[in-house]
């Protein structure tokens, strides 16, 4: 089964880095540039895992996670937060919003792939 990932990040560089890392690991990748765009893209694809940055315009990661978890057939997809912040209260805030787990940037391509395989449904 090819794992499909929806990656949401406002940084073009990050989106390209994530896309490269994940496609090299054999995943199919969809990209979005903020939470609002992420919800739009989610309507059109069937990801197994979602990765999202936290600090984004229009709708940040917390808002995006809350919106995904609010209901619908995709509300229980695993969502990983991808962030430079490893502060405990930010992790807790992400958990409270409904995040499944987290990956700290800068990420190691192998570790990123392994974490995604670990949670992908």
């Amino acid at each position: 089964m090819t794992i499909t990932v929806l990656a949401v990040d406002d940084s073009l560089t990050m989106r390209r880095l994530i896309e490269r890392a994940l496609t090299e690991s054999g995943f199919t990748v969809h990209l979005a540039e903020d939470g609002v765009h992420g919800l739009e893209v989610l309507e059109t694809c069937e990801p197994n895992v979602i990765i999202t940055d936290i600090n984004m315009p229009r709708m940040d990661g917390f808002g995006f996670i809350t919106a995904v978890r609010s209901g619908g057939p995709k509300s229980r997809l695993p969502i990983l937060t991808l962030t430079t912040e490893s502060a405990p209260e930010l992790k807790q805030r992400a958990r409270d919003a409904g995040a499944t787990g987290w990956i700290v940037k800068p990420f190691d391509k192998e570790k990123l792939a392994n974490v995604i395989r670990r949670v992908a449904v």
Binding site: T13, M14, L17, R95, G98, T100, V104, P106, V119
Partner: protein
């Protein structure tokens, strides 16, 4: 490909620096608002994130300090006075120069950078709250209960690298609400060694009365592995707090118990996997290995 991505980063930096500068000017002349401040913070944050991906540590270091000071204002722990904004504008210039010199591979003006870092540090230290500076990327600190019961030390024969652990795991509804899955956790444990898994359903609950969103089942797993207890805890990294979890060394448990071993759990054995190369039998006591026990 790497060069192309690096070029993308520096091109993006140009846009981000423009956002940063124009945002700070707006805040200085009173035309900016909370969203302007957020945009300024995000620009610095994105530069830091991209710099980290390419190992540009000087840039990461400065952007991190700048971002921390900006966050103090965002969190209303530091007043954005004219003096504060002057420091931020100067920091924006330094960041811009740093991006330029790092991009060209040239030598940076350490005096300018260090001077600005000192000013930003003063602002952070003067703020009304404790600045929550992010731990260096890659370093995460998770508190763990330690059980210093090492079990009996065996002095004869070769050291057995395999150890047997008894795991008791009961997922709560929140585990599933956050997109986690018991099956995936069990698979992750199976990847570590030989597993025998028993599922204990809630007493008296028939299968058709089980709520899939909150099954209330307890899973008892006996795992024989040479990976060490830290690898087990890593499996449950994301679900801590969303389950009741105990991980104990079988050897330590055997020493604790002076009675006859407890009868097998009255549950159904669901899965047993025996990986090739994993010797059968209980783990012998290993000198220096710590048992682990905690409840969640």
């Amino acid at each position: 490909m790497e060069d192309e991505l690096r070029e993308t980063f520096f091109l993006e930096c140009a846009d981000l620096l423009e956002t940063l500068e124009s945002g700070l000017i707006a805040l200085s002349d009173g035309t900016g608002d909370a969203e302007t401040l957020n945009a300024v913070f995000r620009a610095t944050h994105s530069i830091k994130g991209g710099a980290g991906a390419f190992g540009l540590t000087e840039l990461v270091r400065f952007a991190h300090k700048f971002e921390t000071a900006l966050d103090e204002v965002r969190q209303k722990r530091l007043e954005p006075t004219a003096e504060v904004l002057k420091v931020f504008l100067r920091s924006s210039d330094v960041l811009s120069d740093l991006v330029d010199t790092v991009g060209r591979g040239a030598e940076t003006d350490n005096d300018a950078v260090d001077g600005c870092v000192a000013d930003l540090t003063k602002l952070i230290e003067s703020s009304s709250g404790e600045a929550e500076e992010a731990v260096d990327a890659g370093a995460t600190f998770e508190a763990m209960a330690l059980d210093l019961d090492f079990g009996p030390i065996s002095t004869d024969g070769p050291v057995d690298p395999f150890e047997t652990f008894e795991i008791e795991f009961r997922p709560f509804a929140a585990l599933y609400e956050r997109g986690n899955e018991t099956l995936l956790l069990l698979r992750a444990l199976e990847a570590l060694g030989e597993c025998e898994t028993v599922c204990e359903p809630v007493a008296g609950r028939m299968l058709d009365a089980v709520d899939p969103a909150d099954p209330g089942m307890t899973w008892r797993i006996t795992l024989r592995t040479e990976q060490g207890v830290d690898s087990l805890w890593e499996v449950f990294d994301f679900v801590e707090g969303d389950c009741a979890l105990k991980i104990r060394s079988a050897a330590a448990m055997a020493d604790e118990s002076e009675e006859a071993p407890a009868p097998p759990a009255a549950g159904r054995r669901i899965r047993r996997n025996r990986r090739r190369g994993v010797p059968a039998g209980r783990g012998a006591a290993v000198p220096g290995r710590r048992g682990a026990g905690t409840g969640a």
